[in-house]
């Protein structure tokens, strides 16, 4: 490769938030006429890096050069002026304006001080034609078009401003296959015209189809920069996940328990056939038997949480069916699920679990109280007994029922949320990342608890990003990839590598 100056070069970038180093010593280069994929799990620092480049965040240290010129972006406007244009997952245009108004917003051609609408129309037509969007009427409302077309119109806007760098952040997440192809055609067109394109997507296959080069981040650090053709899917995944599970492997091996009976003679507690939701996940065939732990494996963003939410009624499924104890059921809301003895610990403790300003006691009792209704308050004496029992069993600290839950540590908050469900004695407990972000001690306690509950006959759907953990606890593992369930593996002597092979799609 000859000595070309990168369009964008970011060197030794660091950004910190209180308590977290979001980016630490990251280098990133983007060349003219390439599609460069930025890879990493959620929380790896992809968005932070993009926001540093687009001027949303100010970098703590490091340098950014655009076309060899040293830049310090303090606002998004400054970044745009330097020729960097971003198209986000949720289209950030004005749906209530017309296509042409959107494409030329703020840069309308003028004649004697007022907007030259004829000029607007013809300029918009030109730009749309360049993107093969001749069928789009410049005068139509943006909201009258599909998300895919809206996204292309957002790209048209960056073509119009002659952007040298185009950042596409999860552009395909809500598109179907045809729309993705249309988008990719436009991306290749722009690439061939010399635009540097930064592409972020959770969909591995799409990344391999469109990108020329990739940069992998993990935990805010740079793993490396690779040519896409040189890096296998397996290689990519192990670089994204890393080897941080080693710490866990040192933990006590969970006591072996008799594997749950499965098969035709036993009715599964819950059985999903072709379960799915438009724009979310599809094709989920999954049964969970009493006393069985089923793990969901897959990359973050592959659709694991979405599946859990369908089982719990947090989102309504619009295809497929669910049977609970052999009886077909429609699970329309969390409340219906709870009435069927299903519990769900969300991965987002703060937003979807804790009632921060209430006490440990109130948080613990919430699900049980909610299912009893407001009129039948659980007597204080019963509350005290239950709360004391669960604080002791789960070793919740501080052991003070009146402490505000937001003042507890992450691990203890997680235990309170677990206890909230255990009090309702569910038959199926869905645990979405129950051990994320908590210290190693609490983590082992929770793993042991999962084991114990299953031994006592509870069905558990266990979701974790740590494959080691999933394999240690589960009887079976369902593999999720690109928002579909692609395989189900019986967990006898399966290794992490085996599962990773499946996630990578068997293509080495």
């Amino acid at each position: 490769m000859n000595e070309i100056v990168p369009v964008v070069e970011m060197t030794d970038i660091a950004i910190g938030f209180p308590g977290v180093k979001a980016l630490d010593g990251v280098n990133f280069r983007l060349f003219q006429g390439e599609v460069h994929a930025l890879m990493g799990e959620n929380g790896a620092g992809k968005s932070t890096l993009i926001k540093a480049l687009t001027g949303v965040y100010t970098i703590d240290s490091g340098t950014i050069t655009v076309l060899g010129e040293h830049k310090q972006f303090s606002t998004p406007a400054a970044s745009q002026a330097a020729g960097i244009s971003t198209v986000y997952q949720e289209v950030n245009l004005c749906p209530n304006l017309t296509v042409e108004e959107n494409v030329l917003l703020g840069r309308e051609p003028r004649r004697r001080g007022s907007i030259d609408w004829k000029g607007v129309r013809s300029r918009t037509r030109e730009v749309l034609a360049e993107l093969h969007l001749n069928h789009v009427d410049p005068g139509s409302l943006l909201s009258s078009h599909s998300i895919a077309v809206q996204q292309l119109i957002a790209i048209a806007r960056s073509v119009e401003i002659n952007a040298k760098v185009l950042i596409l952040d999860e552009p395909t997440s809500s598109l179907d296959a045809d729309e993705v192809n249309q988008l990719f055609r436009v991306i290749r067109d722009l690439r061939d015209r010399g635009v540097a394109i930064l592409f972020v997507s959770h969909f591995l296959e799409q990344v391999y189809e469109i990108s020329d080069r990739m940069t992998v981040l993990r935990n805010g650090k740079l793993v490396g920069e690779y040519l896409t053709r040189d890096l296998s899917r397996m290689g990519l995944i192990s670089k994204m996940i890393g080897k941080e599970m080693e710490a866990l492997a040192e933990l006590d091996q969970a006591p072996a328990r008799t594997r749950a009976r499965t098969g035709s003679e036993v009715t599964p507690f819950v059985e999903a056939r072709g379960l799915g939701r438009k724009g979310s996940v599809s094709n989920v065939d999954l049964s969970i038997y009493p006393g069985e732990v089923v793990g969901l494996a897959g990359l973050l963003g592959a659709g694991r949480t979405e599946i859990a939410r369908l089982f719990f009624g947090a989102d309504k499924a619009d295809e497929g069916s669910i049977r609970v104890k052999g009886v077909s059921q429609r699970i329309r809301s969390p409340r219906t699920a709870i009435d069927k003895r299903i519990g769900f610990c969300s991965e987002d403790r703060k937003e979807e679990g804790l009632i921060g300003d209430l006490s440990v006691r109130d948080n613990l009792m919430l699900a049980m109280q909610a299912s009893k209704g407001w009129a039948r308050r659980i007597p204080r004496r019963v509350q005290d007994e239950l709360v004391a029992e669960y604080i002791a069993t789960l070793d919740i600290r501080p052991a003070n029922p009146d402490a505000l839950i937001r003042n507890l540590s992450g691990g203890n908050q997680q235990k309170v949320l677990l206890a909230r469900w255990l009090i309702t004695s569910p038959e199926l407990l869905i645990l979405d990342e129950p051990t994320r972000g908590i210290d190693i001690g609490a983590k082992t306690q929770i793993q042991k608890l999962v084991n114990k509950l299953a031994t006592e006959g509870m069905s558990i759907l266990f979701i974790s990003s740590e494959l080691e953990e999933v394999l240690r606890l589960s009887d079976r593992v369902a593999v999720i990839k690109d928002r579909e369930m692609v395989a189900e593996i019986k967990n006898d002597d399966v290794s992490v590598e085996d599962v990773m092979t499946v996630i990578a799609g068997g293509t080495q």
Binding site: A314, P334, R335, F344, E352, L358, D362, Q369, A370
Partner: protein
């Protein structure tokens, strides 16, 4: 933790005490009470009696605000309740009988119930933002009241009806007793049942509450109905006190006083934790302010400015940011040695 709980009511109580003291200084007989014809008289009693409708409405408003809502329609409900009861009495064949008065009360309360159901329907089922949903009734309600009274001020003469707002029982004004009863009822209803906790849960984190299986729809419905019924009772007091229904002016801007009382009392407009006792104190502060204006002989043209100054002071004293600022000003007399304050 204990000091925090104390703090929540501390500032409103201090502000109220300071206001009362100020009055006492300017009018030495201010705090004295006297018996006359078996009735208790005094400035304090006047404040409580005049503040009764605001307190009632503010109690309902507290629960609505705790669920992250707001009820702007209470003033209109006051007008409708007064109009409905007075129109009923005026049209009845026996306008002075106790049965007529009782029926009038029932009609007003039922009207409040119905209007509360309407607000609750818009907010909880249709999903209209509370401020818009109740704005509908705020504007339309006065029109409804006009329709009921035929655009006239309807005067009634029924001694039983009059006693709601102007009567005495056990030496105390009836309106104070009613307000006290509603306060006790609300406190018991929310703390003896799980309603209080569930209201707070919905107000603090609606998403997590839904995932815990809480049916927030019912909870939201209950608080709007309670708010409207409180407003209807307040409407009875106001119309009974003047033995007339004035569709235009009854309860005008009372929603503002009620919201203010809630905020001064220490309940955040962002929803969540609430305090009914704080709200009552907040309403007293507002009512005492009005009295203070007369006691101090403040000219009417600056009355509102004076009120605004007191209100903003109380609110600032409760705001964490302002308190931190005060504390750091006190703690750091020398610049350059200030410690970092965690925010």
């Amino acid at each position: 933790m204990k000091s925090l709980m104390k703090n929540r009511l501390a500032w409103p109580v201090i502000a109220l005490a300071a206001l009362l003291l100020l009055n006492q200084i300017f009018r030495p007989d201010f705090l004295s009470l006297r018996m006359q014809d078996g009735h208790l008289y005094g400035s304090i009693i006047d404040i409580m009696r005049n503040g009764a409708p605001t307190i009632l409405i503010a109690l309902g408003m507290t629960l609505v605000i705790a669920t992250r809502g707001i009820d702007l329609s209470v003033g209109a409900v006051v007008a409708i309740a007064g109009a409905a009861s007075c129109a009923y009495i005026a049209a009845s064949p026996e306008p002075a009988s106790p049965v007529t008065a009782a029926m009038a009360v029932l009609i007003a309360v039922l009207a409040g119930l119905l209007l509360g159901v309407w607000n609750g329907f818009l907010v909880s089922t249709v999903g209209v933002q509370p401020i818009i949903a109740t704005l509908v009734l705020m504007t339309a309600g006065r029109g409804i009241a006009q329709l009921i009274t035929g655009g006239q001020i309807v005067s009634v003469s029924n001694d039983h009806y009059k006693s709601i707002g102007a009567g005495y029982l056990f030496t105390l004004p009836v309106s104070i007793l009613i307000t006290a009863a509603v306060f006790v009822l609300a406190a018991v209803l929310t703390r003896r049942t799980a309603l209080g906790i569930l209201i707070e849960a919905v107000g603090i984190n609606p998403v997590a509450s839904r995932l815990a299986g809480l049916r927030s729809r019912n909870i939201i419905w209950i608080v709007y109905v309670f708010s409207a019924v409180c407003a209807a009772i307040a409407g009875l007091m106001i119309s009974s006190n003047v033995t007339a229904a004035d569709a235009n002016n009854a309860g005008l801007y009372i929603e503002m006083d009620a919201i203010l009382a809630v905020v001064i009392g220490g309940t955040s407009l962002a929803g969540g934790r609430y305090t009914l006792a704080g709200t009552v104190i907040g309403a007293f502060i507002i009512q005492t302010l009005t009295t203070t204006v007369y006691t101090l002989g403040i000219p009417p043209e600056v009355t509102l400015v004076f009120k605004a100054l007191v209100v903003i002071t109380v609110c600032l004293l409760q705001a964490p940011k302002a308190r931190n600022l005060l504390r750091s000003l006190k703690a750091a007399p020398k610049p350059g040695t200030k410690e970092k304050v965690a925010i």
